[in-house]
């Protein structure tokens, strides 16, 4: 009997696609594994492979046809001992829901998010590209993973509910896993206990090459690897002998750091913007302020950065934003979180409403927050929330670095060391104290142009610090 070749589903959510190109002509002999055609969806282009052997008798859907429904017949294959007469009276659409073709494991090559992209349009494309990446990953074994509805990754209902057993949810929570990164092997892709037990967090961390820029992960010493399942013998499997290291159990803070930053790395499409600021004026104003300041008040460069960024957020509110599934939240207040390194980790106390606070208030608040942070005596409301964060590694001589966004913040600013550098002024070489800052933005809310304009505002406050006093 003639075999129908059906439009394959390239992803669990695919309903239709474009048949962009036939790679075989009518009359061609087809062996199992031959590439038949190229199929395009909004996420990826993939080739489909023949499963059965025979002769491509008839092409039912012409090249370039868009909106071809999944499981619609696209061609008819005749088996070896059949001739075209077998087509007489053969009606399509009888072969049931199973596709006779499988997608080949090749994602669209054209995706390659460029770090320079700045328009909203490009941002959307980048998101799509990253999605297709995750498809590519699961397509590497098309038969087992992509075509089988039982093992799709953390499948969601139309109402976006993640299917997981109560036990799996609790175990994932305890382990700091993001359920949406875990494949469900239960009925209808439900995530169950065995999925949590066998989950290898490392596998789902984005590879550095997939990021828009190399990442230092140098957020005040928080070089956190992905959360890993498998416990102590995890390293053994990777060839490190037990006994050759000390295993310190994860404490609560380490778990939170791991969970939040892995979550951010998985979910947030981020990109960095780098700018140099000359800070000679800022340094001399600081000196002046401190000579005039009352006893006990000593303004730091960091305090001035907090004030400058808060004012920039107020001046440019499009950048003071958080992504939520329901919409973009534009914050009324500039709450600046500041990363403070403490024994065994880091914490980000928040200067709330920093746009309405003077330098001396910011300074004394920050001093108090930082000292209580080191004693681990902060109240949750003092380090939870915030709308923006600053991480400063200048005191270690770090020239520049990038940080991981701490959701719900839309941006994080990484501050490098201020140092004398050669600069060109009016066509002449000159020496200035220069500080490089890197702004990492959540592209879902802050596009390149918004981030860049915010940085310009920030730079103006830094380079003309007197405006900060207004």
């Amino acid at each position: 009997m003639p075999i129908e070749i059906l439009m394959p589903a390239l992803s669990p959510t695919m309903e239709e696609g474009t048949l962009s190109k036939w790679l075989k002509k009518e009359g061609d002999t087809v062996s199992s594994g031959d590439l038949l055609a190229e199929i395009e969806t909004d996420k990826a282009t993939m080739e489909i492979e023949a499963v059965e052997e025979g002769t491509l008798a008839k092409i039912l859907v012409a090249e370039g046809s868009a909106g071809v429904k999944v499981n619609a017949p696209i061609a008819i294959l005749l088996e070896e001992d059949e001739d075209e007469s077998a087509l007489d009276g053969f009606e399509t659409g009888n072969s049931g829901p199973k596709s006779n073709a499988e997608p080949a494991a090749r994602p669209d090559e054209s995706r390659d998010p460029s770090p320079e992209e700045s328009s909203k349009e490009n941002g959307a494309e980048k998101e799509r590209a990253e999605k297709s990446l995750s498809n590519a990953e699961s397509n590497s074994q098309p038969k087992d993973k992509e075509m089988d509805p039982v093992v799709q990754r953390g499948e969601r209902d139309s109402d976006d509910r993640l299917k997981a057993s109560p036990l799996a949810k609790r175990m994932a929570k305890d382990a700091g896993y993001d359920l949406s990164a875990i494949k469900g092997s239960g009925p209808h892709g439900r995530i169950v206990k065995r999925d949590i037990e066998s989950f290898d967090g490392a596998k789902y961390a984005p590879k550095s090459a997939d990021k828009p820029a190399p990442k230092a992960d140098a957020d005040a010493g928080t070089d956190v690897g992905p959360v890993r399942g498998g416990g102590a013998n995890y390293l053994e499997k990777l060839g490190i002998n037990p006994g050759s290291y000390d295993l310190i159990p994860l404490d609560g803070m380490r778990k939170v750091i791991a969970k939040r930053l892995v979550g951010s790395n998985l979910d947030v499409p981020d990109f960095p913007l780098v700018i140099d600021c000359e800070i000679d004026a800022l340094l001399s104003m600081r000196k002046e302020l401190n000579t005039q300041a009352p006893e006990g008040v000593k303004i730091s460069v960091n305090d001035m950065l907090i004030r400058a960024s808060a004012l920039a957020l107020k001046h440019y509110p499009e950048a003071n934003a958080s992504y939520t599934p329901d919409g973009i939240a534009y914050h009324h207040s500039a709450d600046v979180a500041v990363a403070v390194a403490i024994d065994g980790g880091l914490i980000t106390p928040i200067v709330r409403g920093a746009d309405n606070k003077g330098l001396s208030t910011i300074s004394s608040e920050m001093k108090d927050l930082a000292s209580r942070a080191r004693e681990r005596k902060l109240k949750p409301q003092e380090y939870q929330g915030g709308t923006f964060s600053i991480s400063n590694l200048g005191m270690f001589g770090i020239k520049e670095f990038g940080s991981i966004i701490n959701e719900p913040h839309g941006m994080i600013m990484s501050v490098g060391a201020g140092e004398p550098r050669a600069v060109v002024k009016d066509g002449e070489l000159a020496v200035a104290t220069v500080m490089t800052v890197t702004l990492t933005c959540d592209h879902r809310v802050v596009d390149g142009a918004i981030g860049a304009q915010w940085l310009l505002v920030f730079k103006r406050y830094i380079e003309q610090p007197i405006t900060m006093m207004l």
């Binding site: 039982v150 093992v151 057993s165 109560p166 036990l167 609790r170 175990m171 305890d174 206990k193």
Partner: protein, 463 residues
């Protein structure tokens, strides 16, 4: 029909074989099932079902004897022949039910004893003069009672019974010895003692019902002793000799005693039916009378699978059925999950009933779990009191960290009908939270399940 070929041939029509056959037919396969005896296997004909019929008679008799407690009068008496006949009739009825199911699903039923020979895709199946071939052959030949002939522990046609003989007793024994206190031993002890047989149960390990939670074992022993059943635990029957009656030499606690009985029931374990079917010629691996298989019931011989009692414990009908379904779905290219042995409930239909699923308290601790334990006694349940069944316990075991329901153990009226609730909870992987949130109807025995969960988290209401 000298030479016939099928997609799958199943050898044995017990709850493993016939359920697998139906599932195979549903999956569009051409199926044959070979049976040497009656359709339905031991379960329907000589096991689960006929014993439940006998035990029902015992229960009704017990209630008649206690009619006064319910404000009733009854003249309690029994006719052993009629009790046995009822049990046999029910077995026959269900066996013909299986025959109907085979017909409905167009499954070829082949009567006779099957032997395997080397074949192409799978071993050939020889039944009499016929040779049957198939792509897949599934062994579901079951198991039978273990006997030890050199100690005299084998049926002799009169005094010494296995379950099969005990199911069709010619007389009500006055003095009965039951060797072995597993589910089978305890059900017969329960049946015969209900009709007045002075019953002694001998158990090798230090407690009865060794597969159950130790707390349940102790409660069961107490309940049986109250009704006059004697127990010798940590004891061994060295030999039995038959003459006019049975003389058993029993060793317990270093002392040997000789006791007289008029009947003995052997419930000392199960051996797989692995003989005379050519297993060795096709290369089936047999270990301690059971066929070795992997998680999808593959024997290692191409195209040959084995399921159910033949593959080892737990020897339960529902285990066999599930294994068979998983096996055939895997053959059909589906993606079933292997059976989780720890989620197979076990039920003993003695009086009081016993039911359990998952880890016992000892097993849970041994597996390294920090546990939370909940207990609720029948005495605190209105329905149990109204039924006149105030004895029993529902015990639940949770992992203290994750709230996973690790095990549930129950003793008392109708608990065999309740255990499925906890089995579902385990399958759906609920934690204590969902069990607490579930509304249990009042007044029912099931409320004790809820209370037991609440008790594990110090929230119990009615004690």
């Amino acid at each position: 029909m000298a030479n016939q070929s099928f997609d799958v041939i199943i050898i044995g029509s017990g709850p493993g074989g016939y359920v697998t056959a139906i599932r195979a037919a549903q999956l569009g396969m051409k199926v044959a099932i070979v049976e040497k005896d009656a359709l339905g296997g031991v379960c329907l004909n000589w096991g689960c079902i006929p014993t439940k019929a006998l035990l029902r008679s015992a229960e009704v008799y017990h209630n008649m004897q206690h009619a006064k407690a319910y404000g009733l009068t009854a003249d309690a008496g029994y006719d052993l022949k009629a009790i046995v006949k009822r049990s046999r009739d029910i077995a026959k009825q269900l066996s013909s039910g299986v025959a109907y199911l085979m017909k409905k699903h167009k499954i070829d039923v082949i009567k006779g004893f099957a032997k395997l020979e080397k074949g192409k895709d799978a071993p050939k199946v020889i039944v009499g003069d016929d040779t049957l071939t198939a792509k897949h052959v599934i062994l579901a030949t079951g198991a039978r009672a273990r006997t030890i002939s050199k100690a005299g522990l084998e049926p002799d046609g009169k005094f010494i019974w296995t379950a099969k003989e005990a199911m069709v007793p010619d007389t009500m024994p006055k003095n009965l010895l039951v060797i072995g206190s597993g589910a089978i031993g305890m059900e017969f002890a329960s049946f015969f003692s209900a009709f007045g047989a002075q019953t002694t149960v001998v158990e090798m390990v230090d407690r009865i019902l060794p597969a159950e939670d130790a707390e349940i074992s102790a409660l069961a022993q107490k309940a049986f002793e109250k009704r006059g059943v004697k127990f010798l635990t940590g004891a061994k029957v060295n030999s039995v000799k038959t003459g006019k009656s049975v003389t058993a030499e029993i060793e317990a606690g270093g002392k040997t005693q000789t006791l007289e009985f008029d009947r003995v029931i052997l419930a000392i374990g199960i051996v797989g039916n692995v003989e005379d079917m050519g297993f060795e010629t096709v290369g089936v691996k047999v270990e301690r009378t059971h066929v070795t298989v992997d998680e999808y019931s593959r024997t290692g011989v191409p195209g040959l699978y084995a399921i159910g009692d033949l593959t080892g414990p737990p020897w339960l009908a529902h285990k066999a059925s599930h294994e068979g379904v998983i096996c055939i779905e895997k053959i059909a290219g589906q993606n079933p999950h292997p059976l989780d042995i720890n989620r197979i409930p076990g039920c003993t239909y003695c009086h009081p009933q016993i039911a359990s699923v998952g880890f016992t308290e000892a097993q849970a601790k041994e597996a390294g779990h920090d546990v939370k334990i909940g207990r609720f006694p029948f005495l605190g349940n209105g329905k149990a009191i109204a039924l006149g069944e105030p004895e029993g316990l529902v015990k639940t075991i949770f992992d203290a960290k994750t709230g996973e329901l690790l095990g549930a153990h129950m003793i008392g009226a109708e608990v065999t009908e309740l255990i499925q609730g906890f089995a579902i909870a385990q399958t759906l992987e609920t934690t204590e939270e969902q069990l607490m949130e579930t509304v249990f109807p009042h007044p029912t025995l099931s409320e004790m399940m809820h209370e037991s969960v609440l008790d594990a988290y110090d929230r119990v209401i009615h004690i």
